[in-house]
């Protein structure tokens, strides 16, 4: 119950959320590779449209659009830089081809952002932690990851409480010039750090007490198993790669500006 509720993850169930995070990751990587090997706009448009059914199936449209909006500024920047450099290097003329290439470059960036955001929006942290545990990543890393996810909202809430406690003692965070404002945060940061250290000690104590490090062959309550959906996604991934490579090697990709 606080301002920081947004940081707490909620478990959601949908056909996409239930997919194996490892396969989803492979798919995202495949989209990545395809986006890199094409610089023409048509295949990039196709790639741009590809995640949409996933987003709809997972029911995360709102969050997805928000992440795209977040990327819009950077995308605009990329577009302008591309156009400008083209404009200056090609003797101060603006061609339709140049606009198209710039748009393609921008679209490539957007494709990268959107496919990653689909991955993170539809993969719950505990699933991801589990995937880390079962892909031979040392268990310590997987554990560090899940504990971080677990405690980030707790720390954020604590920071809020500390700020309240200091405000109640007359601290005005927004007062003074730039340097003074930074200094205003000292009474917030010190208790936050001290309490984080104290918390980590208590955590370590609790872990020790529950047989941390008893055996090298740790087992796991959950098993990640591949289901039909996972195989389907794997098939799609391989299909996309094969088609993309075939097209790249044997089919010339037309540019839209040629038709104008």
């Amino acid at each position: 119950m606080s301002v920081f509720d947004g940081l707490k993850f909620r478990r959601v169930y949908s056909p996409i959320h239930n997919l194996d995070p490892r396969i989803k990751f492979v798919y995202v990587c495949a989209v990545f590779v395809v986006a890199i090997i094409f610089s023409e706009i048509l295949p990039l448009i196709a790639l741009f449209l590809m995640p949409i059914p996933f987003v709809l199936l997972a029911g995360v449209q709102k969050e997805w659009l928000r992440s795209l909006r977040g990327a819009a500024f950077l995308a605009g920047f990329i577009f302008i830089v591309n156009i400008a450099s083209n404009f200056f290097t090609s003797g101060y003329v603006l061609t339709a081809g140049a606009v198209e290439t710039s748009a393609a470059m921008t679209l490539r960036f957007v494709v990268l952002v959107e496919s990653f955001s689909v991955f993170f929006l539809t993969t719950s942290p505990d699933h991801l932690g589990l995937a880390l545990e079962q892909t031979r990543v040392p268990y310590e890393f997987a554990f560090a990851f899940t504990t971080a996810v677990r405690f980030v909202p707790v720390l954020a809430e604590e920071a809020q409480t500390i700020m309240d406690a200091q405000k109640a003692r007359g601290l005005e965070l927004e007062k003074g010039g730039f340097l003074k404002r930074i200094r205003n945060y000292v009474p917030v940061l010190i208790p936050l750090i001290v309490s984080a250290i104290r918390r980590s000690l208590e955590l370590a104590e609790a872990m020790e007490s529950r047989a941390w490090g008893a055996t090298k062959k740790r087992t796991n309550l959950y098993a990640l198993k591949l289901h039909r959906g996972d195989f389907a996604l794997l098939a799609i991934t391989i299909g996309v790669l094969v088609v993309a490579i075939y097209v790249r090697l044997y089919v010339p990709v037309p540019a839209i500006s040629q038709f104008l």
């Binding site: 606080s2 947004g6 405000k167 109640a168 003692r169 007359g170 009474p187 208790p191 001290v194």
Partner: protein
């Protein structure tokens, strides 16, 4: 004086933590706000020094609406001591810790010096003046936090869960301290679910449940009413439990104090003998 008129409060995530609370706390009163975790107790008291502003309704402190002034200005009147001292201690010495608020409020160096000495003596911390607060025990840290608020001599003292993790002696000291504040005419508001502690102090009790005040009255009346308490997840104090069971014998139900209990039992036995 704190006036709360039909206050609603919604957190940004849409959770409605207060659902139409109205109350008045007069100067010099001692009030215990009780209720289950999540009932809205802390949310309510955070309105008393402006840390939270009502989404609907009005909170007035000494006639001034909290939306029209700053937390700093309101805190001059209402000193808020948080539950966990570690959420505020940051200085190298106890002395500096206590001077923090005094400097923020713009006291003069000479006054600051006097106030520090006064607050340290009041809470029995004089020997730790130059010690780092981080080296002190939990109970001592709690007292430093209290001293750092008390130092600017606010009219109202708000204590959030002051008895958590405290042993019997520390609680007894706290009780005596509150009595002392009372005799100086200060308003004291505590947020707690420690029934035995409240039973010993016998303040006015405000019982909250799901963002609303469900009972408001004398401690001895509310803490002895099992129907009211059970809906707020509060257990009756032991003495009240005993007298609830003895009620069929014609003894009064509203008893929470041990010594009062003794008198009543002795008198009743005397009567029987005759």
């Amino acid at each position: 004086m704190i006036e709360v008129e039909n206050v609603h409060f919604r957190y940004p995530n849409g959770v409605e933590a207060l659902k139409g609370v109205s109350l008045v706390i007069k100067n010099g009163e001692f009030v215990a706000i009780m209720g289950q975790n999540g009932a809205g107790k802390t949310t309510l008291v955070k309105h008393f020094n402006g840390l939270l502003k009502p989404s609907e309704g009005v909170v007035r402190v000494n006639g001034v609406e909290t939306t029209k002034t700053s937390v700093a200005a309101l805190s001059r009147n209402a000193g808020f001591v948080f539950q966990n001292p570690d959420h505020q201690l940051f200085s190298e010495t106890v002395e500096e810790e206590i001077s923090f608020a005094l400097k923020n409020f713009g006291f003069e160096a000479e006054t600051i010096e006097k106030r520090i000495t006064w607050a340290l003596n009041l809470l029995g911390l004089a020997q730790y003046r130059k010690t780092s607060p981080f080296l002190l025990s939990g109970g001592e840290r709690k007292r430093v936090a209290l001293a750092s608020v008390l130092a600017w001599n606010p009219e109202t003292l708000i204590l959030d869960e002051p008895t958590i993790g405290q042993d019997y002696q520390q609680k007894e000291k706290l009780r005596q301290f509150i009595v002392q504040m009372q005799t100086q005419g200060k308003t004291v508001v505590i947020v707690t679910h420690d029934v035995e502690f409240v039973a010993e102090c016998n303040p006015r009790v405000l019982l909250m449940k799901e963002g609303a005040v469900v009972a408001d009255g004398e401690g001895r009346e509310i803490l002895t009413d099992p129907e009211v308490l059970v809906q707020s997840s509060i257990v009756l104090p032991q003495i009240a439990q005993i007298f609830l069971k003895l009620a069929p014998l014609g003894l009064p139900k509203n008893v929470i104090d041990v010594y009062e209990a003794k008198e009543i039992v002795l008198k009743a036995l005397e009567k029987r003998r005759k």
